[in-house]
């Protein structure tokens, strides 16, 4: 095997005396895809930030092509060809695709003005070499998230990237977009670029990675070639150090009467004649590709999307839901897919975030009874095992899984009759995932009707009693319990295997 391009040896990093990384080593070879896996908080991002120079290591050594790197600051890291594609994409929406590729290094003509012709041409060439199908002259705001990611990859390549770090690159991509991205990863690898691939999605790691390094609680567990990893379970066990029987602890409960009925719901260009019902104690899965109208159904139910036609019935009574507050009054709760953007109040504490929709309950005439409020937050912290020093900790410092538990607590206190969960476990680590699914199952046991939207087929298969599959704004099909398989869902989602 060729000599490594970058080696990290015995890296330790501590913040205010707390160790985030202990004795972690990592060796990346040129032209290989190296997976970095671990639960949230295992130290993946810290390690990544040490490589990009955002953090400086407390001790340990970094070697680039066998030579010791003394000061790894962001500038130096870039110079060595280390680039990172973060989850939050760094694309200026009001510039063209080509400008975004050459952001900060736009080619200029003799007069010092931007040389558009040359820039568009150069962008086109990079796209061609990576087999990306994208028009350089398009405005960046008009392209999809997947394409924005490709812009960033092209930018890294234009700057002669040797090592590309990808942090959860597929977390917001649809299945098909993921396929395209994965083939791009292979393309980059063939060009000799090394890729450090961070992901929670095990199937992707098996598809594209050559080597895997496992971190747990900031400690190095081991690195091994993927050829020696038998299956997902082996990897998961190394990550969590306890046997995961199943993420899903779905308990089958008797399903009751219909509580919610949606009839002929339509919204031009988004939803087309949607009909379904939801019963008490039932978990209804909504599957389909990103953009197929899954989230829009939830938004229409919660009064965030104005429907053109159609009716919503709760307990067989027609209801008008004009906004979230109407929905809440009718007993609905909604855990949205973008925790940071639409769920969390980041500057506030865990307690604030849990009690947000429930303050009325704690208010005695004029003032909030903080004793009652604290007690309830404290109870839910225990009940859902929210890992935080105290309920007064700022929520932004918690891991994704624990933040999500706080949001779920928020709605549980409301005692909703219908709970909608959109991607409940996106960016949530394996341990917290199991806990969240156990809670969802428990709520169903108590008779709550649950709508669960997910891109993870395993989650739909593992959790739902019944599943509707969306395709291009319509319900492509409904699957009863014993028919819910990945195969069936995918067939429906893609239109019987034939792409439209």
């Amino acid at each position: 095997m060729n000599s490594p391009i970058i080696e990290l040896k015995h890296i330790t990093k501590s913040f205010s005396g707390v160790k985030a990384l202990t004795d972690v080593s990592l060796t990346v070879h040129p032209g290989s895809v190296h997976a970095l896996v671990g639960e949230n908080g295992a130290g993946k991002s810290t390690l990544m930030k040490i490589l990009t120079g955002a953090y400086s290591k407390s001790s340990g050594e970094i070697y680039y092509k066998g030579e010791k790197v003394e000061n790894m600051d962001p500038k130096n890291s870039k110079k060595l060809g280390i680039h990172c594609i973060y989850q939050e994409l760094n694309v200026a929406n009001h510039l063209t695709v080509a400008e975004n590729v050459f952001l900060g290094s736009q080619p200029v003509n003799k007069m010092g003005f931007i040389d558009w012709k040359q820039m568009n041409q150069a962008a086109k060439e990079i796209f061609a070499s990576l087999q990306i199908n994208l028009d350089p002259k398009q405005m960046a705001k008009d392209v999809s998230i997947a394409q924005k990611q490709m812009i960033e990859i092209a930018r890294a390549i234009s700057q002669d990237a040797k090592i590309l770090i990808m942090d959860e690159p597929t977390s917001s991509l649809s299945e098909r977009e993921t396929e395209i991205l994965l083939s791009l990863v292979t393309e980059l690898k063939n060009k000799g670029v090394s890729i450090l691939y961070i992901s929670h999605r095990m199937d992707e790691i098996f598809k594209v990675c050559d080597t895997v390094t496992i971190l747990r609680d900031g400690k190095y567990i081991k690195s091994l070639p993927m050829s020696e990893v038998k299956n997902v379970d082996t990897l998961v066990e190394l990550m969590v150090n306890r046997k995961m029987e199943s993420y899903f602890n779905k308990v089958d409960v008797p399903i009751g009467e219909p509580i919610l009925k949606v009839q002929n719901l339509s919204k031009t260009g988004v939803l087309n004649d949607i009909n379904f019902d939801l019963r008490t104690g039932e978990i209804l899965g909504i599957a389909g590709l990103v953009g197929s109208g899954r989230t829009e159904i939830a938004q229409a139910l919660f009064g965030m999307l104005k429907k053109d036609t159609g009716e919503i019935l709760i307990d067989d009574k027609k209801v008008e839901i004009k906004g979230p507050s109407d929905a809440i009054k009718l007993g609905l709760g909604f855990v949205t897919e973008n925790r940071k953007e639409t769920g969390l109040v980041l500057k506030q504490t865990v307690r604030d975030n849990i009690s947000l929709p429930n303050l009325r309950k704690y208010t005695n005439k004029l003032f909030i009874n903080k004793t009652v409020e604290k007690k309830e937050s404290e109870d839910y912290k225990k009940k859902l095992n929210i890992k935080a020093r105290s309920i007064e900790q700022t929520i932004s410092t918690l891991s994704g899984g624990n933040q999500q538990k706080a949001i779920i607590s928020r709605w549980m206190i409301q005692e909703p009759r219908i709970l909608i969960l959109d991607e409940p476990c996106r960016g949530v680590d394996v341990g917290a995932k199991a806990e969240i699914f156990a809670q969802i199952s428990k709520l169903a046991e108590q008779g709550v009707g649950i709508i669960m939207i997910s891109s993870e087929l395993a989650e739909i298969v593992g959790m739902s009693d019944r599943t509707i599959v969306m395709r291009e704004g319509t319900i492509a099909g409904e699957l009863e319990k014993d028919m819910i398989t990945s195969d069936n869902i995918l067939k429906l989602a893609f239109g019987g295997g034939i792409s439209a």
Binding site: A54, D352, I368
Partner: protein, 334 residues
């Protein structure tokens, strides 16, 4: 073996350094405004002979009353992520309104009540425009700054309305027991502000809207209503500031309060309120007000010309905001 030992000592020394750095930072983070205020207080006590006397300190507080009342209202507005550039003009309008009403023979309590209602309505109007029409507060209040100033000038025809009523003068110049009335009003406004902000749903919604409006909406909070409420409340409080000012001057002048909105914003920001919303406290604002007032008073005692005072005040504000941004960056990187 030896070598190992020395590295471990080095590491522990390193850790110690980091520990001290962090401890210092925590002190700085939690109390930079307090430390700044204390330093300013000590420096002024040393370099001037008259600063540290009961008379002067009471005087400082009395002079700061108007600014403080304004700053309490401004704190609410800034926490929602908004701003009120028209505060100074609101002072002028309420000053001429209350003076005009009294001059027209309206009983004083009624005149005050009507003025506060007018202030509330001005705020209600601005809040409604901001929250329902989605026009940035900066623009709406900037426009209101000139509109309200114009109204004050048109109403008074450019000359102050003098109020010779002795009872009215009591508000700005009188005493309740040993304490100046203006200070009592200031304290009441600050307490109401604090209770509203920290102990009511309204206050919690104010913070939430400033931090994540969409999350607030999804939790069933009527964002438009709360925002409008903040500006209406702010308008009523600004009117109280205007009444106190008019009483102190014994007249309602269309020029009164000009530019004071900037002092109020500066006090709020000095007090650690995040100019982008979501964070801030009334206690911080009180300290910010104290810093600006002590600075004003001290520089006067030192006979620093008013032009130089402007420069010094600007530098202090810039310095404070710079320190805040260092804190924010430091927090983000940890």
């Amino acid at each position: 073996m030896l070598k190992n030992n020395s590295t471990s000592i080095e590491i522990s020394r390193n850790n110690k350094n980091i520990y001290w750095k962090n401890t210092l930072f925590v002190i700085f983070d939690k109390g930079s405004t307090t430390i700044g205020l204390a330093l300013l207080f000590i420096i002024m006590s040393i370099i001037t002979t008259d600063f540290l006397s009961v008379d002067n300190l009471v005087n400082v507080m009395r002079q700061s009353a108007v600014l403080c009342i304004m700053a309490v209202a401004m704190t609410f507005i800034i926490i929602t992520g908004g701003i009120d550039l028209s505060a100074g003009s609101q002072l002028a309008v309420s000053g001429v309104a209350v003076s005009g009403l009294i001059a027209a023979g309206v009983p004083i309590p009624l005149a005050i009540l009507i003025t506060i209602i007018i202030g509330g309505l001005i705020g209600l109007f601005m809040g409604t425009v901001i929250s329902t029409q989605n026009i940035p507060p900066f623009i709406v209040t900037l426009a209101m700054l000139t509109i309200l100033s114009g109204i004050a000038f048109v109403y008074t025809e450019g000359t102050p309305i003098v109020v010779s009523n002795a009872l009215f003068r009591e508000i700005g110049r009188g005493f309740i027991g040993p304490i100046p009335t203006a200070i009592v009003i200031m304290i009441i406004v600050a307490i109401i502000g604090h209770l509203l902000l920290s102990h009511t749903r309204f206050g919690r919604y104010v913070y939430t809207i400033g931090d994540n409006e969409e999350a607030a909406r999804l939790c069933g909070i009527n964002v438009k209503l709360v925002k409008t409420g903040v500006y209406a409340f702010g308008g009523a409080i600004m009117a109280i500031a205007g009444i106190v000012l008019a009483s102190r001057l014994s007249s309602g002048s269309p020029n009164a309060g000009t530019g004071s909105e900037l002092d109020a914003i500066a006090a709020v920001v000095l007090g650690g309120t995040n100019l982008f919303g979501g964070e801030g406290k009334i206690s911080g604002t009180l300290m910010g007000v104290a810093i600006i007032s002590i600075l004003n008073n001290g520089l006067n005692l030192l006979n620093v010309s008013s032009y130089n005072q402007l420069m010094i005040k600007g530098v202090v504000i810039l310095l404070a905001v710079w320190l805040n941004s260092i804190k924010a960056r430091r927090k983000a990187s940890v």
